[in-house]
């Protein structure tokens, strides 16, 4: 997913991934089994192997696509087209940049683990004030001023997406009789924001056996600019209809689910999958003197680091989430037709005061 010049994207990659998950009975269950195994890289779960993606001029081969996802999205490193090493943890990378001695001075006798976000922040605060060599914080892949376990967030987001689609509890095995339902999955990529999140949302109409899981990968910027004018995009146009004259195979979705109607699946839902903690990195002073021409461009705005476990959280309705049944629309008690405004005896239609009639 190289990035498009708009704020919201589906593009070829997510379109193929949707079709991969929706297009054949049982396939999303197979992908779920792969995603639940942490030793299987997310890049190796199948959809990147599709020749349908060979049309992408920058990533026309499978190794290029896998390499792009691993290095630019997940921060893997290595030589050659195919990075083979997962990214090092954040503190290890900071230590490598400033040197073990400077790091130890800042940390003191503190035993530091990334799980203790407050302690990490205190140590990095001390380090930022003392070091003259650290001009930028480590980042993950091509994400601007963000570090986190993106692969795990994407993995957990897709796991939750497929589980909701198939009507499974988290971690539950698929029943021998098959999944309780199969809701179509829709995927989007939304950027930019300060840190990486996966949003899993759904609707489920039990009485008709229909619904949809809509998932957004909400990410920091990848560095690619956004077009200020939407019509400047390649082949962009103003649509006058939602219909099409093209005669090609339509994407196949699962049929309406059938089965017991007494099942307790929540008809609406909205979850966010992200790191448990996000730390704002201390500002790195950039006025330390250097000799002529030796500049280091500072960060523009804050850098955020995701620490701790990747968690799935359900925001409350008050904070913008939804309750399991949403909030029912209740019609007004009176007629909703606008009432005729009462004209003041001392005002006329144009607002000027006039003599009463």
């Amino acid at each position: 997913m190289p990035g498009m010049p708009y704020h919201l994207e589906k593009g070829g990659w997510l379109s193929v991934l949707e079709d991969y998950l929706n297009g054949a009975p049982g396939r999303s269950a197979q992908v779920l089994a792969l995603l639940r195994n942490p030793s299987v890289p997310v890049s190796d779960t199948g959809f990147l192997q599709s020749p349908a993606l060979d049309k992408d001029p920058d990533y026309e081969t499978e190794p290029k696509r896998v390499g792009h996802l691993r290095s630019d999205w997940f921060g893997w490193t290595g030589t050659g087209v195919l990075p083979a090493r997962r990214q090092d943890p954040f503190l290890k990378q900071v230590k490598a940049r400033v040197g073990a001695k400077a790091f130890a001075t800042a940390a003191g006798k503190t035993s530091l683990t990334e799980r203790d976000a407050r302690k990490v922040h205190r140590v990095l605060d001390a380090l930022a004030a003392e070091t003259t060599t650290l001009r930028n914080w480590p980042i993950t892949g091509f994400w601007v001023q963000y570090f986190g376990d993106v692969e795990e967030i994407v993995r957990q987001t897709l796991v939750r997406t497929i589980e909701v689609s198939l009507g499974l509890e988290h971690g539950e095995k698929i029943p021998r009789s098959g999944p309780r339902r199969t809701l179509p999955i829709e995927l989007f990529w939304k950027c930019p924001q300060r840190w990486f999140e996966g949003w899993v949302t759904w609707r489920w109409d039990e009485s008709h056996g229909t619904g949809q899981v809509t998932t957004l990968l909400a990410t920091p910027g990848s560095g690619k600019p956004v077009l200020q004018n939407p019509l400047d995009g390649k082949d962009a146009f103003r649509p006058t209809t939602w219909t099409t004259d093209e005669l090609v195979r339509a994407p196949i979705g699962p049929p309406p689910s059938v089965g017991a109607r007494s099942w307790r699946g929540a008809p609406k839902g909205m979850w966010v999958v992200t790191h448990e903690h996000h730390l704002e990195m201390p500002d790195l002073p950039d006025h330390h003197p250097t000799t002529t021409g030796s500049w280091a461009i500072p960060e523009f705005g804050p850098t955020y680091v995701g620490l701790g476990d990747v968690v799935c959280v359900q925001p409350s309705e008050a904070d913008g989430g939804t309750t399991p049944f949403g909030r029912e629309y209740v019609p007004p008690r009176r007629s909703s037709a606008p009432s005729r405004p009462r004209r003041s005896r001392s005002s006329s239609r144009d607002g000027s005061k006039g003599a009463p009639r």
Partner: protein
């Protein structure tokens, strides 16, 4: 037209301004193609404020964002104005440059703002801010 714009500077100031010019153009060489460099502000007429071994130059540089891009951002082809104040330490043989640059203005010219703050503390009332801050950063609540 020359990129270097300052004219009629006396010798000691001219040498310092030229050194700052070289530093700015060289320092931004991977990012901005230079269009102009000039001095501005209260020391613009002499070019620099000298106080041995230090010199202060307030400058403005204009260039095209056609290089490797700032902070992993793609180059935008925009004309970018960079303003800064450089304190030159002339005591070592290789002069040292303390640069104070308006990077926020560079970022906004690149269109890089996000328009939203982030905080571990959701402060719903201004009156509560000091209490939350004291608790979060472990200091005594100020009066």
């Amino acid at each position: 037209m020359s990129v270097y714009r300052p004219t009629s500077l006396d010798a000691p100031e001219a040498e310092v301004v030229r050194a700052v010019y070289d530093d700015v153009v060289d320092g931004l060489r991977d990012h901005l193609h230079p269009l102009s460099f000039d001095v501005e502000g209260p020391f613009a007429t002499p070019g620099a404020l000298l106080s041995d071994p230090y010199a202060v130059v307030q400058w403005v540089f204009v260039g095209v964002d056609d290089g490797e891009g700032f902070n992993n951002l793609w180059p935008t082809a925009k004309k970018i104005t960079v303003r800064g104040v450089t304190i030159v330490d002339r005591s070592p043989a290789d002069w040292l440059f303390h640069r104070h640059i308006d990077w926020n203005a560079v970022s906004s010219q690149l269109g890089g703002s996000l328009g939203r703050s982030a905080t571990p503390l959701l402060v719903r009332s201004r009156e509560d801010a000091r209490f939350y801050a004291a608790d979060h950063y472990s200091f005594d609540e100020p009066d």
